[in-house]
Protein backbone atom coordinates (compact mmCIF):
# COMPACT_ATOMS: atom_id res chain seq x y z
CA UNK A 1 0.00 0.00 0.00
CA UNK A 2 1.01 3.61 -0.26
CA UNK A 3 2.33 3.81 3.29
CA UNK A 4 4.71 0.94 2.72
CA UNK A 5 6.05 2.68 -0.34
CA UNK A 6 6.57 5.83 1.67
CA UNK A 7 8.60 3.99 4.26
CA UNK A 8 10.66 2.64 1.39
CA UNK A 9 11.37 6.18 0.24
CA UNK A 10 12.34 7.34 3.70
CA UNK A 11 14.63 4.39 4.33
CA UNK A 12 16.66 5.28 1.28
CA UNK A 13 16.92 8.80 2.68
CA UNK A 14 18.23 7.60 6.01
CA UNK A 15 21.25 5.95 4.45
CA UNK A 16 23.30 9.03 5.11
CA UNK A 17 21.76 9.80 8.49
CA UNK A 18 23.49 8.74 11.71
CA UNK A 19 20.41 7.06 13.15
CA UNK A 20 18.80 4.15 11.38
CA UNK A 21 16.70 2.65 14.09
CA UNK A 22 15.28 3.59 17.42
CA UNK A 23 15.07 1.18 20.29
CA UNK A 24 12.71 2.12 23.06
CA UNK A 25 12.28 0.47 26.40
CA UNK A 26 8.79 -0.52 27.38
CA UNK A 27 9.08 1.72 30.42
CA UNK A 28 9.37 4.83 28.24
CA UNK A 29 6.25 3.87 26.31
CA UNK A 30 4.30 3.41 29.53
CA UNK A 31 5.53 6.71 30.93
CA UNK A 32 4.54 8.65 27.85
CA UNK A 33 1.09 7.08 27.86
CA UNK A 34 0.65 7.87 31.52
CA UNK A 35 1.82 11.45 31.15
CA UNK A 36 -0.73 12.18 28.47
CA UNK A 37 -3.48 10.38 30.29
CA UNK A 38 -3.02 12.33 33.48
CA UNK A 39 -2.05 15.77 32.36
CA UNK A 40 -3.10 16.02 28.79
CA UNK A 41 -6.85 16.03 28.96
CA UNK A 42 -8.17 19.11 27.31
CA UNK A 43 -4.92 20.84 26.56
CA UNK A 44 -3.20 20.60 23.23
CA UNK A 45 0.15 19.02 23.80
CA UNK A 46 2.19 17.45 26.52
CA UNK A 47 5.92 17.37 26.12
CA UNK A 48 8.86 15.75 27.71
CA UNK A 49 12.50 14.88 27.32
CA UNK A 50 13.94 11.55 26.19
CA UNK A 51 17.09 10.16 27.76
CA UNK A 52 19.27 7.40 26.48
CA UNK A 53 22.40 6.67 24.54
CA UNK A 54 23.64 6.03 21.04
CA UNK A 55 24.97 2.59 20.13
CA UNK A 56 26.45 2.30 16.64
CA UNK A 57 23.60 3.31 14.36
CA UNK A 58 20.85 2.75 16.88
CA UNK A 59 19.44 5.29 19.21
CA UNK A 60 18.44 3.67 22.48
CA UNK A 61 15.91 5.48 24.58
CA UNK A 62 15.98 4.20 28.12
CA UNK A 63 14.08 6.75 30.14
CA UNK A 64 12.15 9.97 29.92
CA UNK A 65 10.70 12.68 32.09
CA UNK A 66 7.81 15.01 31.46
CA UNK A 67 7.83 18.78 31.19
CA UNK A 68 5.31 20.78 33.14
CA UNK A 69 2.71 22.64 31.14
CA UNK A 70 3.51 26.13 30.02
CA UNK A 71 0.32 27.60 31.34
CA UNK A 72 1.54 27.79 34.91
CA UNK A 73 0.78 30.68 37.26
CA UNK A 74 4.39 31.61 37.89
CA UNK A 75 5.58 33.08 34.65
CA UNK A 76 9.18 33.08 35.78
CA UNK A 77 9.32 29.32 35.82
CA UNK A 78 12.70 28.38 34.56
CA UNK A 79 12.54 25.50 32.17
CA UNK A 80 16.24 25.15 31.85
CA UNK A 81 16.65 25.01 35.59
CA UNK A 82 14.00 22.31 35.89
CA UNK A 83 15.76 20.28 33.27
CA UNK A 84 19.16 20.69 34.90
CA UNK A 85 17.87 19.70 38.31
CA UNK A 86 16.05 16.70 36.95
CA UNK A 87 19.09 15.48 35.06
CA UNK A 88 21.36 15.95 38.04
CA UNK A 89 19.01 14.01 40.28
CA UNK A 90 18.60 11.22 37.76
CA UNK A 91 22.35 10.94 37.51
CA UNK A 92 22.46 10.04 41.18
CA UNK A 93 20.35 7.01 40.59
CA UNK A 94 22.33 5.87 37.58
CA UNK A 95 19.76 6.73 34.97
CA UNK A 96 21.24 7.74 31.61
CA UNK A 97 21.36 11.48 31.65
CA UNK A 98 22.21 12.01 28.02
CA UNK A 99 19.58 13.99 26.17
CA UNK A 100 18.62 12.23 23.00
CA UNK A 101 15.44 13.93 21.98
CA UNK A 102 12.00 14.92 23.08
CA UNK A 103 8.45 13.70 22.77
CA UNK A 104 5.19 15.42 22.10
CA UNK A 105 1.59 14.36 21.96
CA UNK A 106 -0.48 15.34 18.99
CA UNK A 107 -4.14 16.03 18.32
CA UNK A 108 -5.43 13.94 15.43
CA UNK A 109 -2.05 14.01 13.76
CA UNK A 110 -1.35 17.73 13.55
CA UNK A 111 2.21 18.32 14.53
CA UNK A 112 3.97 19.92 11.55
CA UNK A 113 4.31 23.44 12.86
CA UNK A 114 6.89 26.17 13.06
CA UNK A 115 7.37 25.58 16.79
CA UNK A 116 8.15 21.90 16.27
CA UNK A 117 10.54 22.71 13.48
CA UNK A 118 12.40 25.23 15.62
CA UNK A 119 12.63 22.95 18.65
CA UNK A 120 13.77 19.97 16.64
CA UNK A 121 16.30 22.08 14.83
CA UNK A 122 17.86 23.34 18.05
CA UNK A 123 17.94 19.78 19.42
CA UNK A 124 19.42 18.32 16.28
CA UNK A 125 21.92 21.11 16.04
CA UNK A 126 23.17 20.47 19.55
CA UNK A 127 22.94 16.68 19.46
CA UNK A 128 23.21 15.15 16.06
CA UNK A 129 21.19 12.04 16.66
CA UNK A 130 18.16 13.50 18.38
CA UNK A 131 14.64 12.64 17.36
CA UNK A 132 11.16 13.81 18.16
CA UNK A 133 8.65 11.15 19.15
CA UNK A 134 5.11 11.91 18.21
CA UNK A 135 2.54 10.08 20.29
CA UNK A 136 -1.05 10.08 19.06
CA UNK A 137 -3.26 9.26 22.04
CA UNK A 138 -6.54 9.24 20.15
CA UNK A 139 -5.32 6.78 17.58
CA UNK A 140 -3.86 4.67 20.38
CA UNK A 141 -7.21 4.59 22.13
CA UNK A 142 -8.57 3.12 18.92
CA UNK A 143 -6.53 0.01 19.39
CA UNK A 144 -3.00 0.36 18.13
CA UNK A 145 -0.11 2.22 19.73
CA UNK A 146 0.72 5.15 17.51
CA UNK A 147 4.25 6.29 18.16
CA UNK A 148 6.40 7.72 15.40
CA UNK A 149 9.92 9.08 15.43
CA UNK A 150 10.97 11.93 13.15
CA UNK A 151 14.17 13.75 12.34
CA UNK A 152 14.81 16.71 10.11
CA UNK A 153 16.47 15.83 6.83
CA UNK A 154 19.99 17.21 6.38
CA UNK A 155 18.74 19.49 3.62
CA UNK A 156 16.18 21.06 5.91
CA UNK A 157 18.83 21.40 8.59
CA UNK A 158 20.94 23.45 6.22
CA UNK A 159 18.11 25.80 5.43
CA UNK A 160 17.33 26.31 9.09
CA UNK A 161 20.96 26.99 9.80
CA UNK A 162 21.13 29.76 7.28
CA UNK A 163 17.69 31.01 8.23
CA UNK A 164 17.05 31.56 4.58
CA UNK A 165 13.39 30.81 4.20
CA UNK A 166 12.77 32.64 0.98
CA UNK A 167 11.78 31.00 -2.28
CA UNK A 168 15.28 31.07 -3.71
CA UNK A 169 16.73 29.48 -0.61
CA UNK A 170 14.26 26.64 -0.72
CA UNK A 171 14.76 26.17 -4.43
CA UNK A 172 18.52 26.01 -3.94
CA UNK A 173 18.27 23.26 -1.40
CA UNK A 174 15.53 21.51 -3.38
CA UNK A 175 13.47 20.78 -0.31
CA UNK A 176 9.94 19.64 -0.99
CA UNK A 177 7.29 18.86 1.59
CA UNK A 178 8.09 15.19 1.25
CA UNK A 179 11.65 15.40 2.38
CA UNK A 180 11.22 17.69 5.33
CA UNK A 181 11.02 15.00 7.92
CA UNK A 182 12.31 11.50 7.78
CA UNK A 183 10.70 8.77 9.80
CA UNK A 184 12.91 6.39 11.71
CA UNK A 185 11.61 2.87 12.47
CA UNK A 186 11.01 2.07 16.10
CA UNK A 187 11.58 -1.17 17.91
CA UNK A 188 10.51 -1.91 21.46
CA UNK A 189 12.88 -3.85 23.62
CA UNK A 190 12.47 -5.08 27.14
CA UNK A 191 14.94 -6.49 29.59
CA UNK A 192 14.54 -9.94 31.10
CA UNK A 193 13.23 -8.70 34.41
CA UNK A 194 10.59 -6.65 32.68
CA UNK A 195 9.57 -9.79 30.79
CA UNK A 196 9.13 -11.51 34.13
CA UNK A 197 7.00 -8.61 35.24
CA UNK A 198 4.89 -8.89 32.10
CA UNK A 199 4.24 -12.57 32.76
CA UNK A 200 3.22 -11.65 36.28
CA UNK A 201 0.85 -8.96 35.06
CA UNK A 202 -0.79 -11.31 32.65
CA UNK A 203 -1.50 -13.74 35.45
CA UNK A 204 -2.69 -11.21 37.93
CA UNK A 205 -4.65 -8.76 35.85
CA UNK A 206 -8.34 -9.35 35.76
CA UNK A 207 -9.06 -6.55 33.33
CA UNK A 208 -10.32 -8.09 30.10
CA UNK A 209 -8.31 -6.91 27.14
CA UNK A 210 -10.59 -4.79 25.05
CA UNK A 211 -10.42 -5.39 21.36
CA UNK A 212 -10.82 -1.79 20.38
CA UNK A 213 -9.00 -2.38 17.17
CA UNK A 214 -11.79 -4.46 15.70
CA UNK A 215 -14.57 -2.07 16.54
CA UNK A 216 -16.47 -0.81 13.51
CA UNK A 217 -17.82 2.41 15.00
CA UNK A 218 -14.98 4.76 14.23
CA UNK A 219 -16.60 7.16 11.81
CA UNK A 220 -16.38 10.08 14.24
CA UNK A 221 -12.61 9.76 14.20
CA UNK A 222 -12.64 9.83 10.42
CA UNK A 223 -14.88 12.90 10.45
CA UNK A 224 -12.56 14.74 12.80
CA UNK A 225 -9.47 13.93 10.77
CA UNK A 226 -11.16 15.05 7.58
CA UNK A 227 -12.26 18.26 9.30
CA UNK A 228 -8.65 19.06 10.19
CA UNK A 229 -7.59 18.21 6.66
CA UNK A 230 -10.14 20.63 5.27
CA UNK A 231 -8.97 23.39 7.59
CA UNK A 232 -5.43 22.91 6.41
CA UNK A 233 -6.51 22.91 2.80
CA UNK A 234 -8.27 26.21 3.51
CA UNK A 235 -5.05 27.62 4.91
CA UNK A 236 -3.21 26.37 1.88
CA UNK A 237 -5.59 28.01 -0.56
CA UNK A 238 -5.36 31.29 1.34
CA UNK A 239 -1.62 31.08 1.12
CA UNK A 240 -1.82 30.46 -2.61
CA UNK A 241 -4.11 33.45 -3.08
CA UNK A 242 -1.59 35.59 -1.22
CA UNK A 243 1.16 34.34 -3.44
CA UNK A 244 -0.90 34.95 -6.56
CA UNK A 245 -1.54 38.55 -5.56
CA UNK A 246 2.14 38.98 -4.89
CA UNK A 247 3.15 37.66 -8.29
CA UNK A 248 0.49 39.78 -9.98
CA UNK A 249 1.75 42.83 -8.13
CA UNK A 250 5.31 42.12 -9.14
CA UNK A 251 4.42 41.75 -12.81
CA UNK A 252 2.30 44.90 -12.69
CA UNK A 253 5.18 46.73 -11.12
CA UNK A 254 7.53 45.49 -13.79
CA UNK A 255 5.18 46.86 -16.41
CA UNK A 256 4.95 50.18 -14.65
CA UNK A 257 8.73 50.42 -14.42
CA UNK A 258 9.01 49.66 -18.09
CA UNK A 259 6.46 52.29 -18.99
CA UNK A 260 8.15 54.88 -16.82
CA UNK A 261 11.55 54.23 -18.37
CA UNK A 262 10.06 54.47 -21.86
CA UNK A 263 8.29 57.72 -21.07
CA UNK A 264 11.51 59.11 -19.63
CA UNK A 265 13.43 58.24 -22.74
CA UNK A 266 10.77 59.75 -24.94
CA UNK A 267 10.81 62.95 -22.93
CA UNK A 268 14.57 63.09 -23.06
CA UNK A 269 14.64 62.73 -26.84
CA UNK A 270 11.98 65.43 -27.11
CA UNK A 271 13.93 67.78 -24.88
CA UNK A 272 17.09 67.10 -26.78
CA UNK A 273 15.35 67.97 -30.01
CA UNK A 274 14.16 71.20 -28.39
CA UNK A 275 17.64 71.91 -27.06
CA UNK A 276 16.74 71.75 -23.33
CA UNK A 277 18.87 69.83 -20.83
CA UNK A 278 17.63 66.30 -20.26
CA UNK A 279 15.86 65.48 -17.04
CA UNK A 280 18.06 63.96 -14.38
CA UNK A 281 18.09 60.24 -14.12
CA UNK A 282 16.08 59.37 -11.13
CA UNK A 283 16.69 56.39 -9.10
CA UNK A 284 13.98 54.07 -10.30
CA UNK A 285 14.37 51.48 -7.63
CA UNK A 286 13.51 54.02 -4.96
CA UNK A 287 10.33 55.01 -6.75
CA UNK A 288 9.05 51.53 -7.32
CA UNK A 289 9.57 49.60 -4.19
CA UNK A 290 9.25 45.87 -4.95
CA UNK A 291 6.49 44.21 -2.90
CA UNK A 292 7.45 41.85 -0.10
CA UNK A 293 7.48 38.23 -1.25
CA UNK A 294 5.42 36.09 1.11
CA UNK A 295 7.38 33.53 3.14
CA UNK A 296 7.45 30.17 1.45
CA UNK A 297 8.18 28.27 4.59
CA UNK A 298 4.60 28.34 5.73
CA UNK A 299 3.44 26.82 2.48
CA UNK A 300 5.94 24.07 2.93
CA UNK A 301 4.79 23.38 6.46
CA UNK A 302 1.15 23.36 5.47
CA UNK A 303 1.88 21.03 2.57
CA UNK A 304 3.78 18.74 4.91
CA UNK A 305 0.89 18.72 7.35
CA UNK A 306 -1.64 17.98 4.63
CA UNK A 307 0.54 15.11 3.54
CA UNK A 308 0.60 13.63 7.05
CA UNK A 309 -3.16 13.97 7.37
CA UNK A 310 -3.66 12.23 4.04
CA UNK A 311 -1.38 9.40 5.10
CA UNK A 312 -3.24 8.82 8.36
CA UNK A 313 -6.61 8.98 6.66
CA UNK A 314 -5.53 6.44 4.09
CA UNK A 315 -4.23 4.10 6.77
CA UNK A 316 -7.46 4.47 8.61
CA UNK A 317 -9.63 3.74 5.59
CA UNK A 318 -7.63 0.67 4.67
CA UNK A 319 -8.03 -0.70 8.19
CA UNK A 320 -11.75 -0.03 8.12
CA UNK A 321 -12.17 -1.71 4.77
CA UNK A 322 -10.53 -4.80 6.19
CA UNK A 323 -12.86 -4.74 9.18
CA UNK A 324 -15.92 -4.32 6.97
CA UNK A 325 -14.97 -7.33 4.90
CA UNK A 326 -14.54 -9.34 8.07
CA UNK A 327 -18.01 -8.29 9.20
CA UNK A 328 -19.36 -9.37 5.86
CA UNK A 329 -17.79 -12.78 6.24
CA UNK A 330 -19.37 -13.12 9.67
CA UNK A 331 -22.81 -12.25 8.30
CA UNK A 332 -22.30 -14.58 5.39
CA UNK A 333 -22.02 -17.51 7.78
CA UNK A 334 -25.25 -16.60 9.46
CA UNK A 335 -27.47 -16.20 6.42
Amino acid sequence: MASRKESGVSSSNTLDSPVKQIQIEGLVVLKIIKHYQEEGQGSEVVQGVLLGLVVEDRLEITNCFPFPQHTEEDADFDEVQYQMEMMRSLRHVNIDHLHVGWYQSTFYGSFVSRALLDSQFSYQHAIEESVVLIYDPIKTAQGSLSLKAYRLTPKLMEICKEKDFSAEGLKKAAVGYENMFEEVPIVIKNSHLISVLLWELEEKSTVPSKHELLSLSSSSHLEKSLQMLMDRVDDMSQDIVKFNTFSRNTSKQQQQKHQYIQRRQQENTQRQSRGEPPLPEEDISKMFKPPQPPPRMDTLLIAGQINTYCQTVKEFTSQNLGKLFMAEALQGHNS
Binding site: G26, L27, L30, I33, K34, Y36, Q37, Y82, M86, N94, I95, T140, A141, G143, S144, L145, S146, A167, K171, G176, Y177, V187, I188, K189, N190, S191, L193, I194, V196, L198, L201, E202, K204, S205, V207, K210, H211, E212, L213, L214, E223, L229, V233, M236, S237, I240, V241, N244, S247, T250, I306, K314, E315, T317, S318, Q319, G322, L324, Q331, N334
Partner: protein, 295 residues
Protein backbone atom coordinates in the same frame (compact mmCIF):
# COMPACT_ATOMS: atom_id res chain seq x y z
CA UNK B 1 -7.32 1.01 61.54
CA UNK B 2 -9.29 -1.98 60.34
CA UNK B 3 -7.48 -5.17 59.60
CA UNK B 4 -8.36 -5.11 55.95
CA UNK B 5 -6.90 -1.75 55.11
CA UNK B 6 -7.38 0.14 51.89
CA UNK B 7 -6.95 -1.60 48.57
CA UNK B 8 -3.76 -0.66 46.83
CA UNK B 9 -4.21 -0.01 43.14
CA UNK B 10 -1.00 0.00 41.19
CA UNK B 11 -0.34 1.12 37.67
CA UNK B 12 2.08 -1.09 35.78
CA UNK B 13 4.32 1.87 34.98
CA UNK B 14 5.23 2.07 38.66
CA UNK B 15 6.40 -1.53 38.90
CA UNK B 16 8.27 -1.17 35.62
CA UNK B 17 10.07 1.88 37.04
CA UNK B 18 10.99 -0.04 40.17
CA UNK B 19 12.37 -2.93 38.15
CA UNK B 20 14.34 -0.50 36.03
CA UNK B 21 15.91 1.24 39.04
CA UNK B 22 16.75 -2.15 40.50
CA UNK B 23 18.60 -3.00 37.32
CA UNK B 24 20.56 0.22 37.56
CA UNK B 25 21.45 -0.01 41.23
CA UNK B 26 24.92 0.79 42.49
CA UNK B 27 27.46 -1.95 42.88
CA UNK B 28 27.20 -3.65 46.21
CA UNK B 29 23.68 -2.48 46.95
CA UNK B 30 21.40 -5.39 47.45
CA UNK B 31 18.20 -3.47 47.26
CA UNK B 32 16.77 -0.18 46.07
CA UNK B 33 14.30 2.08 47.80
CA UNK B 34 12.24 4.99 46.59
CA UNK B 35 9.14 7.10 47.08
CA UNK B 36 5.69 6.28 45.84
CA UNK B 37 3.43 9.02 44.54
CA UNK B 38 -0.25 8.86 43.90
CA UNK B 39 -3.67 9.73 45.18
CA UNK B 40 -5.62 8.62 48.21
CA UNK B 41 -9.27 7.77 48.11
CA UNK B 42 -11.55 6.76 50.93
CA UNK B 43 -11.12 3.06 50.45
CA UNK B 44 -8.22 2.79 48.13
CA UNK B 45 -4.84 4.15 47.41
CA UNK B 46 -3.85 4.58 43.80
CA UNK B 47 -0.15 4.54 43.02
CA UNK B 48 0.62 6.32 39.79
CA UNK B 49 4.25 7.34 39.92
CA UNK B 50 7.49 6.69 41.72
CA UNK B 51 11.14 7.67 41.81
CA UNK B 52 14.13 6.00 43.39
CA UNK B 53 16.11 7.57 46.23
CA UNK B 54 19.78 6.82 46.75
CA UNK B 55 20.54 5.15 50.05
CA UNK B 56 23.31 3.23 51.76
CA UNK B 57 22.68 0.19 53.82
CA UNK B 58 25.12 -1.74 55.93
CA UNK B 59 24.81 -4.13 58.85
CA UNK B 60 24.09 -1.61 61.55
CA UNK B 61 23.03 1.58 59.88
CA UNK B 62 21.06 2.94 57.02
CA UNK B 63 21.42 6.35 55.38
CA UNK B 64 18.80 7.81 53.09
CA UNK B 65 19.38 10.93 51.05
CA UNK B 66 16.39 12.89 52.25
CA UNK B 67 17.38 16.12 50.52
CA UNK B 68 17.25 14.28 47.25
CA UNK B 69 13.84 12.85 48.03
CA UNK B 70 12.47 16.28 48.83
CA UNK B 71 13.96 17.80 45.69
CA UNK B 72 12.60 15.13 43.41
CA UNK B 73 9.19 15.41 44.96
CA UNK B 74 9.14 19.14 44.29
CA UNK B 75 10.15 18.59 40.67
CA UNK B 76 7.50 15.95 40.19
CA UNK B 77 4.91 18.18 41.77
CA UNK B 78 5.53 20.76 39.09
CA UNK B 79 4.39 18.33 36.43
CA UNK B 80 1.51 16.67 38.23
CA UNK B 81 0.34 18.80 41.12
CA UNK B 82 -2.26 16.28 42.21
CA UNK B 83 0.16 13.54 43.19
CA UNK B 84 1.19 13.26 46.83
CA UNK B 85 3.62 11.03 48.68
CA UNK B 86 1.69 7.99 49.72
CA UNK B 87 4.46 5.67 50.78
CA UNK B 88 7.67 4.06 49.75
CA UNK B 89 8.91 0.93 48.06
CA UNK B 90 11.80 -1.46 48.48
CA UNK B 91 12.95 -4.33 46.33
CA UNK B 92 13.45 -7.67 47.97
CA UNK B 93 11.28 -10.20 49.67
CA UNK B 94 11.59 -9.57 53.40
CA UNK B 95 11.03 -6.60 55.61
CA UNK B 96 14.16 -5.82 57.56
CA UNK B 97 14.72 -3.69 60.63
CA UNK B 98 16.10 -0.97 58.43
CA UNK B 99 12.75 -0.88 56.73
CA UNK B 100 11.20 0.11 60.04
CA UNK B 101 13.49 3.10 60.31
CA UNK B 102 12.83 4.16 56.75
CA UNK B 103 9.14 3.72 57.30
CA UNK B 104 9.32 6.04 60.28
CA UNK B 105 10.86 8.71 58.10
CA UNK B 106 8.10 8.35 55.59
CA UNK B 107 5.46 8.56 58.28
CA UNK B 108 6.62 12.09 58.78
CA UNK B 109 6.01 12.89 55.13
CA UNK B 110 2.64 11.26 54.72
CA UNK B 111 -0.12 9.92 56.88
CA UNK B 112 -0.21 6.16 57.04
CA UNK B 113 2.32 5.52 54.37
CA UNK B 114 2.17 2.19 52.56
CA UNK B 115 5.19 0.06 52.13
CA UNK B 116 5.50 -1.84 48.89
CA UNK B 117 7.88 -4.70 48.29
CA UNK B 118 8.75 -5.91 44.83
CA UNK B 119 10.58 -9.18 44.75
CA UNK B 120 13.00 -8.48 41.93
CA UNK B 121 15.44 -11.13 43.03
CA UNK B 122 12.67 -13.67 42.48
CA UNK B 123 13.21 -15.26 45.84
CA UNK B 124 9.74 -16.62 46.00
CA UNK B 125 9.91 -18.04 42.49
CA UNK B 126 8.03 -15.19 40.90
CA UNK B 127 8.00 -11.44 41.08
CA UNK B 128 5.51 -10.83 43.83
CA UNK B 129 4.39 -7.35 44.63
CA UNK B 130 3.06 -6.91 48.13
CA UNK B 131 1.92 -3.94 50.12
CA UNK B 132 1.87 -3.30 53.83
CA UNK B 133 0.59 -0.83 56.34
CA UNK B 134 2.32 -0.34 59.62
CA UNK B 135 0.54 -0.63 62.91
CA UNK B 136 2.05 -0.22 66.34
CA UNK B 137 1.92 -3.22 68.58
CA UNK B 138 3.29 -4.46 71.82
CA UNK B 139 2.80 -3.70 75.43
CA UNK B 140 2.24 0.00 75.98
CA UNK B 141 4.91 1.49 78.14
CA UNK B 142 7.25 -1.47 77.82
CA UNK B 143 8.27 -3.11 74.56
CA UNK B 144 6.58 -1.50 71.65
CA UNK B 145 7.13 -2.47 68.08
CA UNK B 146 5.72 -2.08 64.66
CA UNK B 147 3.78 -4.66 62.75
CA UNK B 148 3.30 -4.59 59.03
CA UNK B 149 -0.12 -5.74 57.98
CA UNK B 150 -0.53 -6.89 54.42
CA UNK B 151 -2.92 -5.18 52.04
CA UNK B 152 -4.51 -6.43 48.86
CA UNK B 153 -2.88 -5.31 45.65
CA UNK B 154 -4.72 -4.74 42.42
CA UNK B 155 -3.45 -3.63 39.05
CA UNK B 156 -5.38 -0.89 37.33
CA UNK B 157 -4.93 0.36 33.80
CA UNK B 158 -6.02 3.30 31.78
CA UNK B 159 -7.44 2.27 28.41
CA UNK B 160 -4.40 3.42 26.53
CA UNK B 161 -2.16 1.70 29.09
CA UNK B 162 -3.97 -1.56 28.31
CA UNK B 163 -3.08 -1.19 24.70
CA UNK B 164 0.49 -0.27 25.50
CA UNK B 165 0.88 -3.30 27.75
CA UNK B 166 -0.60 -5.55 25.10
CA UNK B 167 2.04 -4.37 22.68
CA UNK B 168 4.77 -4.92 25.26
CA UNK B 169 3.51 -8.45 25.90
CA UNK B 170 4.48 -9.28 22.37
CA UNK B 171 8.13 -8.76 23.22
CA UNK B 172 7.99 -11.73 25.57
CA UNK B 173 7.73 -14.19 22.75
CA UNK B 174 10.38 -12.87 20.41
CA UNK B 175 13.90 -14.27 20.96
CA UNK B 176 15.65 -10.90 20.92
CA UNK B 177 12.96 -9.47 23.18
CA UNK B 178 12.14 -6.89 20.55
CA UNK B 179 9.06 -5.98 18.65
CA UNK B 180 8.58 -3.52 15.85
CA UNK B 181 5.59 -1.24 15.63
CA UNK B 182 3.32 -2.28 12.81
CA UNK B 183 0.64 -0.26 11.19
CA UNK B 184 -1.95 -0.57 8.49
CA UNK B 185 -3.69 -3.79 7.68
CA UNK B 186 -1.14 -5.95 9.45
CA UNK B 187 -2.61 -4.90 12.79
CA UNK B 188 -6.12 -5.80 11.77
CA UNK B 189 -4.78 -9.10 10.49
CA UNK B 190 -3.09 -9.68 13.84
CA UNK B 191 -6.27 -8.97 15.76
CA UNK B 192 -8.25 -11.21 13.42
CA UNK B 193 -5.76 -14.01 13.98
CA UNK B 194 -6.11 -13.57 17.73
CA UNK B 195 -9.89 -13.72 17.54
CA UNK B 196 -9.63 -16.82 15.39
CA UNK B 197 -7.45 -18.50 17.98
CA UNK B 198 -9.89 -17.71 20.72
CA UNK B 199 -12.78 -19.01 18.64
CA UNK B 200 -10.99 -22.29 17.98
CA UNK B 201 -10.36 -22.76 21.73
CA UNK B 202 -14.05 -22.19 22.37
CA UNK B 203 -14.98 -24.60 19.60
CA UNK B 204 -12.67 -27.27 20.98
CA UNK B 205 -14.32 -26.88 24.38
CA UNK B 206 -17.78 -27.24 22.84
CA UNK B 207 -16.73 -30.35 20.97
CA UNK B 208 -15.48 -31.85 24.21
CA UNK B 209 -18.69 -31.09 26.00
CA UNK B 210 -20.77 -32.59 23.21
CA UNK B 211 -18.65 -35.69 23.17
CA UNK B 212 -19.16 -35.99 26.89
CA UNK B 213 -15.50 -35.64 27.81
CA UNK B 214 -16.06 -32.53 29.89
CA UNK B 215 -19.04 -31.82 32.08
CA UNK B 216 -21.14 -28.97 30.83
CA UNK B 217 -21.00 -25.79 32.86
CA UNK B 218 -24.19 -23.74 32.81
CA UNK B 219 -22.56 -20.36 33.23
CA UNK B 220 -20.17 -21.03 30.36
CA UNK B 221 -23.15 -22.10 28.29
CA UNK B 222 -24.87 -18.81 29.04
CA UNK B 223 -21.78 -16.87 27.99
CA UNK B 224 -21.67 -18.84 24.75
CA UNK B 225 -25.27 -18.02 24.05
CA UNK B 226 -24.52 -14.33 24.62
CA UNK B 227 -21.65 -14.60 22.21
CA UNK B 228 -23.73 -16.11 19.45
CA UNK B 229 -26.50 -13.59 20.03
CA UNK B 230 -24.06 -10.72 19.60
CA UNK B 231 -23.96 -11.20 15.85
CA UNK B 232 -27.01 -9.21 14.80
CA UNK B 233 -29.67 -10.76 12.65
CA UNK B 234 -29.99 -8.37 9.76
CA UNK B 235 -31.85 -9.27 6.56
CA UNK B 236 -29.40 -9.84 3.75
CA UNK B 237 -30.39 -6.91 1.50
CA UNK B 238 -30.22 -4.38 4.34
CA UNK B 239 -26.81 -5.61 5.29
CA UNK B 240 -25.68 -5.45 1.67
CA UNK B 241 -26.78 -1.82 1.36
CA UNK B 242 -25.13 -0.86 4.64
CA UNK B 243 -21.92 -2.57 3.69
CA UNK B 244 -21.85 -1.09 0.22
CA UNK B 245 -22.53 2.45 1.39
CA UNK B 246 -19.78 2.19 4.01
CA UNK B 247 -17.31 0.80 1.49
CA UNK B 248 -18.25 3.53 -0.96
CA UNK B 249 -17.66 6.22 1.65
CA UNK B 250 -14.25 4.85 2.50
CA UNK B 251 -13.24 4.48 -1.13
CA UNK B 252 -14.31 8.03 -1.87
CA UNK B 253 -12.28 9.35 1.03
CA UNK B 254 -9.25 7.41 -0.16
CA UNK B 255 -9.70 8.78 -3.67
CA UNK B 256 -10.01 12.35 -2.44
CA UNK B 257 -6.97 12.13 -0.19
CA UNK B 258 -4.95 10.75 -3.08
CA UNK B 259 -6.18 13.63 -5.18
CA UNK B 260 -5.19 16.14 -2.51
CA UNK B 261 -1.74 14.66 -2.29
CA UNK B 262 -1.31 14.85 -6.05
CA UNK B 263 -2.51 18.42 -5.96
CA UNK B 264 0.01 19.58 -3.39
CA UNK B 265 2.75 17.76 -5.25
CA UNK B 266 1.76 19.60 -8.43
CA UNK B 267 1.63 22.89 -6.60
CA UNK B 268 5.13 22.33 -5.36
CA UNK B 269 6.49 21.44 -8.77
CA UNK B 270 4.95 24.51 -10.37
CA UNK B 271 5.98 27.09 -7.80
CA UNK B 272 9.69 27.17 -8.77
CA UNK B 273 8.59 28.76 -12.03
CA UNK B 274 7.14 31.75 -10.24
CA UNK B 275 6.94 34.75 -10.10
CA UNK B 276 6.54 34.92 -13.84
CA UNK B 277 3.83 32.29 -13.95
CA UNK B 278 1.25 32.04 -11.19
CA UNK B 279 0.31 28.57 -9.97
CA UNK B 280 -3.11 27.28 -11.00
CA UNK B 281 -5.81 27.67 -8.42
CA UNK B 282 -6.47 24.17 -7.17
CA UNK B 283 -9.99 23.46 -8.32
CA UNK B 284 -9.98 20.02 -6.80
CA UNK B 285 -9.85 21.67 -3.41
CA UNK B 286 -13.22 23.23 -4.05
CA UNK B 287 -14.58 19.90 -5.21
CA UNK B 288 -13.27 18.29 -2.06
CA UNK B 289 -14.97 20.81 0.15
CA UNK B 290 -18.26 20.60 -1.68
CA UNK B 291 -18.43 16.87 -1.21
CA UNK B 292 -17.27 16.82 2.37
CA UNK B 293 -20.32 18.27 4.21
CA UNK B 294 -22.04 14.96 3.56
CA UNK B 295 -19.52 12.95 5.57
Amino acid sequence: MSVYGPVVKIHPVVVASIVDSYERRNEGASRVIGTLLGTIDKHSVEVTNCFSVPHNESEDEVAVDMEFAKNMYELHRKVSPSEVIIGWYATGYDITEHSVLIHEYYSREAQNPIHLTVDTALQSGKMSVRAYLSAPMGVPGKTVGVMFTPLSVKYVYYDTECIGIELLQKTRTSPSRTNGLTSDLTQVAGSAAQTQEMLSTVLAYIEDVLAGKVTADNSVGRYLMDLVDKVPMIPAEDFETMLNSNINDLLMVTYLTNLTQTQIALNEKLSPFLPTRPSPYPSSFILFKLLMPKA
